[in-house]
């Protein structure tokens, strides 16, 4: 068991990559390739379940991270293959491994051209995404961070819709330029601490042993923050998102919204708060304002979208605003809520994109006005859609509610006006999602073509229903998730609390 504990993270991270490499060798028989990709991603998911199940075991290194591996990779500069997870990254890893097989399923029929390339890219993307969440060496982190970019851009650019090239290039350039600032900050840290190791840098910063830090800290904070803010995306860096989403293939959208955006909020939590608590506190006011603008603006723009996928994309801007609000409220409830919204959003928005993709495959359009009264030809589809919409809106007992409730209570603790403005976001989200639902599903069938639309098929059910189930379980028993999250967020807040105590003490 000991060796399994030691190697499980490496396994989970690299099994998809190994699968992708094997896929290269496989002959171009589409069916075999699909099955192979499904098996690989399911295997990864099963392996990743080991992580939460045995999470309570005592740590074998004293750094607060589980399943840690730390072995030298490159001696000069000293780069270590240092991976490990805590309560923050645990569930994001599982979210990634959970969504990938569903992406394979939802692409079963919709991708029929260059199938091999598609699944190779998808599996490489999974490895890169997991790598981002488990890396504890800044260099390794940057490595995986950039590595997510290429498969995603290619997925959008090759398998996307009409304006795919524009969207892919815009996505690539936006995030690439932003992450250059992060690279500069990482290099600065390396030059002045002599290590890339996250834990070591954190210890050095807390001990005050880094020369020139006080002058540079603000710039370093901003360097990291810009890279993460573009990824989240925080208003006003969000303009790449609607284009990328609308043009991406369904599986691309699911992973983009479900996991890629969380890389940004995860980064804020891990690096901005973890390394620069003081600067986080100083800069919190304007960041919170941006988050609030994102919540309200995203929701308002979503409301007027004629395009279903764009609507869901803007709803992501709004929901991720909640996450940032929760993080920068610096309260236990806020942080827990932020984490929970990340997971809930991954599950329910992922499912929404899948459902939108199902419609697109049948009618080749996302325009809401092209539909109407779909509830009668597609009852199962309509029911599934409603379930997910309600989860996303934040109906109690479903997953959206728990996270938003926690974030808002955290925001109220920090400042009442934050909570009040944030709470309007919940109302807006009900407006745009339910209104969209009404226009698409209720009333009479407005276009004759829609009468003959097929209901959900087997593969589509297999992709969507696990999300619905997860949404229900997360809503009913959030404690399963929060039990691991809570201790970590608690310790993440300790340096912030100490700082406040110091300020009060003076």
């Amino acid at each position: 068991m000991r060796t399994l504990d030691h190697n499980i993270l490496t396994l989970v991270t690299f099994v998809p990559l190994a699968g992708a490499l094997l896929l290269v060798l496989l002959p171009r028989r589409d069916r075999d390739i699909r099955i192979f990709a499904l098996v690989t991603s399911l295997l990864t998911f099963v392996l990743s379940l080991h992580l939460p199940v045995y999470f309570k075991r005592p740590l074998h290194l004293g750094t607060g991270f589980h399943y840690e591996v730390n072995s030298p990779w490159i001696s000069s500069p000293t780069i270590h293959y240092h991976i490990g997870i805590d309560g923050i990254s645990l569930w994001l890893v599982v979210l990634t491994t959970f969504l990938t097989p569903l992406c394979v399923l939802i692409s079963w029929k919709s991708v029929h051209d260059r199938v091999k390339e598609f699944f190779i890219l998808l599996l490489i993307l999974e490895t890169a995404l997991i790598g981002v969440f488990v890396a504890l060496d800044l260099f390794l982190f940057y490595f995986f961070w950039e590595a997510t970019l290429i498969p995603m851009a290619l997925l959008i650019g090759i398998f996307g819709h009409e304006r795919k090239v524009y969207a892919a290039v815009k996505f690539f350039m936006y995030t690439m330029i932003a992450s250059m600032f992060m690279l500069a900050a990482i290099l600065w840290l390396y030059a002045h601490t002599g290590t890339f190791d996250f834990v070591e840098i954190q210890t050095q910063i807390r001990a005050g042993g880094v020369p020139n830090l006080s002058a540079a800290a603000l710039w370093l904070f901003l360097g990291f923050f810009i890279a993460f803010a573009v990824k989240v995306p925080l208003f006003p860096f969000h303009t790449w998102l609607p284009d990328a989403h609308v043009e991406a293939p369904t599986a691309g959208s699911v992973l983009l919204a479900g996991v890629l955006l969380k890389m940004g909020t995860y980064g804020m939590l891990r690096f901005n708060l973890g390394l620069f608590p003081e600067q986080s506190r100083q800069n919190a006011p304007w960041i919170v304002v941006l988050a609030l603008i994102g919540i309200i603006y995203g929701a308002l723009v979503a409301m007027v979208q004629p395009n279903m996928k764009k609507l869901i994309a803007y709803s992501s801007v709004s929901h991720l605003g909640f996450v940032v609000l929760g993080i920068f409220s610096f309260t236990q409830a806020g942080l827990n809520g932020a984490m929970f919204v990340m997971l809930a959003h991954g599950v329910s928005t992922g499912a929404l994109f899948m459902l939108a993709g199902v419609l697109h495959e049948r009618r080749h359009t996302y325009e809401i006005s092209e539909f109407g009264g779909l509830a009668s030809p597609m009852p199962i589809y309509a029911a599934s859609f409603l379930f997910i919409v309600l989860a996303s809106v934040g109906l109690p007992l479903l997953n959206g509610f728990v996270g938003e409730f926690l974030v808002l209570s955290g925001a109220f603790q920090s400042r009442a006006i934050y909570g009040i403005l944030g709470a309007t976001g919940v109302i807006w989200s009900a407006c745009y999602l339910l209104w969209m639902y009404q226009r698409v599903f209720y009333g009479k069938v407005t276009h004759a073509v829609n009468n003959s639309l097929l209901d959900l098929e087997g593969f589509e059910k297999a992709a969507v229903w696990p999300c619905a189930l997860a949404a229900l379980v997360m809503g009913v028993a959030p404690i399963i998730w929060l039990a691991a999250i809570d201790p970590t967020t608690h310790s993440a807040l300790v340096p912030l609390a100490q700082m406040t105590a110091k300020v009060v003490g003076q």
Binding site: P77, K164, F172, A191
Partner: protein
């Protein structure tokens, strides 16, 4: 009875070992020249190419043998150490890869010429000599040997006006630039009374740095900057690269650059006045910016890669951002690593371009690359790896190359230069990405025939791909070796340098 004075001048047998690679390559070059008239057109080409390739392999072997006996030779005009061995391996390996990829190219272009391979070997002799010479006059001669070969190589598609233009332009401007170098050498001699880098360094150490030395260095920098294609001496690059045969461009955008860089490193550190490095920094910043901005608007892939090579010369020059002696080995090692990584990806990229260009180099615009990902997935995938490496994406050698260079600059607190470099890499990403986008995301508008990849090109591509990925995942070995040999370039008087006891000819072997 030989007088002691004469005995000093007559080289000993052991000294010839220290130019063994040059001797071997020259012999093979001459052999090719002799055999060329005896061969018939069809089969001769292949045989001569094979001889050339064997020549480079023998050259590599000779380099290994040479590196076993480090030290000075020929009245202290040649210094064999880890540093020169590194660049020998680099330029000879580049020559070998270029010969491999030229094999098919020459047949497709109907260029009949055995001397093509001979010229590549002679050029390599010059570049090898550049990296081991520590005597300015010898450096000049080596520079000329390498330049004259490449001038001729650039004009090998002689029925194409563009190629002739390329050759002539390169020749006229190049000879002008080397004249500057010679003038700089003369100034150096006037100021210090010697043309030996080691002696110059000692003289400056004890007597201070006179103004004439700065002028001399600046003039030499003009000569070398031309070879490096560093702004503002870059203007020739796009036209010359566009006209020259694609494999030759792969050759002359990497090997002479590496050699010129080796010379520049030796000279600049001998002068040892880091405060006056700023012209190099300015050239670095200008090259990166001009190269990347210029590449943005290109539609011809060869021109695009020409501008990209200007930009990469800029990144390389950032490695000179060393303000204190402790930083020097870092910078030198970063530069050496960069030269190696750049060679792997650029030779590979031009091999693909050369293969794809077809007879008369018809297919070299971005439009021709549309849909290559579908019609020739393997070729497109390989080119994508090289382009990603040129962008500097992780898992490729280009990433670590940029990374080392920028961290060397940051450690020297040259934040502005690093920022310019970082912003430039982001700009650079755009145009490399354009090629990838065109290959994978557009449907072909015209029918471009893609011929089967021949064995030679295939091998060259496989080696380049392997090297690019290897440097991206295990950069350790090469970097470690570079760091050790960086010590050899350090001027004699810098503390901690192993060459500080310069009287002894044997320099500690530096193998990892």
């Amino acid at each position: 009875m030989i007088t002691p004075l004469v005995a000093q001048v007559i080289p000993q047998a052991g000294e010839y070992v220290r130019i063994l690679p040059e001797l071997v390559l020259s012999l093979f070059g001459i052999l090719i020249m002799l055999l060329d008239p005896l061969m018939d057109e069809q089969r001769g080409q292949k045989t001569l190419g094979l001889i050339g390739f064997i020549g480079t392999l023998a050259g590599l072997l000779a380099t290994w043998y040479m590196s076993q006996s480090p030290g000075l030779a020929f009245s202290n005009s040649i210094q064999i150490d880890g540093f020169s061995a590194f660049f020998h391996v680099l330029v000879i390996a580049i020559a070998a890869l270029v010969i491999l990829s030229s094999y098919e190219y020459l047949a497709v272009q109907h260029i009949r010429a055995g001397e093509y391979y001979a010229l590549i070997l002679f050029g390599t002799v010059g570049m090898g000599l550049m990296s081991s010479a520590v005597e300015l006059v010898l450096i000049f001669i080596a520079l000329e040997i390498s330049s004259i070969s490449t001038y001729i190589l650039a004009g090998f598609r002689r029925y194409q006006a563009a190629s002739t233009e390329s050759s002539l332009k390169y020749f006229l401007l190049g000879s002008f630039a080397t004249a500057f170098f010679l003038y700089g050498v003369a100034m150096m001699f006037g100021a210090t009374g010697s043309t030996n880098i080691d002696k110059i360094s000692r003289y400056l150490q004890s007597n201070g740095v006179p103004l004439l030395v700065y002028i001399g260095t600046a003039l030499m920098f003009v000569g070398l900057g031309f070879k490096l294609a560093a702004a503002p001496l870059h203007v020739w690059t796009p036209d010359v690269y566009e006209g020259a045969p694609a494999p030759v461009v792969g050759f002359m955008s990497t090997a002479p650059k590496a050699a010129a860089f080796a010379v520049l490193l030796r000279i600049v550190f001998a002068i040892n006045e880091p405060a006056h490095f700023w012209p190099v920094w300015v050239a670095a910043a200008l090259s990166m910016t001009i190269g990347n901005l210029g590449a943005l608007v290109q539609t011809n892939v060869k021109r695009l890669l020409a501008y990209s090579s200007i930009a990469h010369a800029g990144y390389l020059l950032v490695a000179f951002a060393m303000t204190t002696p402790e930083n020097w080995p870092n910078g030198i090692a970063a530069a050496m690593f960069y030269a190696a990584a750049y060679a792997a990806m650029n030779v590979g990229a031009f091999a693909v371009v050369g293969h794809f260009a077809n007879a008369g180099e018809q297919y070299v615009t971005l439009e021709d690359y549309e849909g290559l990902g579908r019609s020739s997935p393997l070729l497109a995938a390989v080119l994508t790896i090289f382009l990603l490496s040129l962008i500097g994406i992780p898992i490729t050698g280009g990433f670590f190359a940029k990374f080392y260079v920028f961290s060397a600059a940051l450690r020297a607190n040259l934040i502005w230069l690093t920022l310019i470099g970082v912003v430039n890499s982001a700009i650079g990403a755009y145009y490399y990405l354009r090629i990838i986008v065109v290959m994978y995301m557009r449907e072909p508008r015209k029918q471009v025939p893609v011929s089967r990849v021949s064995f030679g090109v295939g091998t060259a591509l496989a080696v380049c791909t392997f090297a690019t990925i290897y440097l991206g995942i295990f950069p350790n070995r090469v970097l470690h070796y570079a760091q050790q040999s960086a010590q050899n370039v350090m001027p004699v008087h810098v503390a901690g340098s192993p060459t500080s006891t310069a009287e002894i000819p044997a320099i500690p072997r530096s193998r990892p």
